[in-house]
Amino acid sequence: MRAAGVISEYALFGAIAQMRYTEPVATLDADVLVAMPSSEGLDVLRPIYEFCAHRGYRPEGEAVRVGAWPVQFIPAFSPLTQEALEQAATADFEGVSLRVVGADYLAVIALSVGRAKDQARILGLLESATVGREQVARLAARHGLTEAWRRFESRFLND
């Protein structure tokens, strides 16, 4: 898809990316953060859906079914997610090289979203020691999330 110019960059994120760093977690879909060559128009994901349909991968709700997984393509929607995409690591998945969002960015994106499952994700990442509190605090501060991090620490981490 990148070679065909449909997307300019991608990285796995969400629960599938989280599992690179933590114990396994239940999830319904696989999330892929994407940067598009052009973000003009209302339907920025259309080229992805057309590319997939041409290869027999059918849309399923807001996702595209690939094997067992509904795959949701999510355009980088903020400076934080754009940076997460740029800084993504390359990881090996059984011989396949994949780009995956780093643990620090996963934690801070989860902080910015703030649902219960996002809070559990932050705790899982911290517990796995793949990211530290200072690292999350610094990244959160750079993206205007200091207050959200302070609230999270106060609620879940401070005795």
Binding site: A15, M19, E23, P24, R65, A68, W69, E94, E127
Partner: protein, 65 residues
């Protein structure tokens, strides 16, 4: 300490030990329960026969050699 607490501690230790699995193994575990989670989230009990209710049966990822 009660037996229940010991059981919970053992379970927590077992869960934490799964961090050491490979990424692919963890994704396969998530894939194995995905259909059940999906049915539960739709308010339906998972199929008792073990046969997925979806029209598209899950295709397993390639096994690690």
């Amino acid at each position: 300490m009660t037996d229940t607490l010991r059981l919970l501690e053992r379970q927590a230790a077992w869960q934490k030990s799964r961090v050491a699995l490979t990424w692919a193994e963890k994704v396969r575990m998530a894939e194995a329960v995905r259909e059940s989670v999906s049915q539960l989230s739709r308010g339906r009990p998972p199929a008792a026969s073990g046969v997925p209710a979806s029209k598209d049966p899950p295709r397993s990822l390639p096994r690690q050699q």
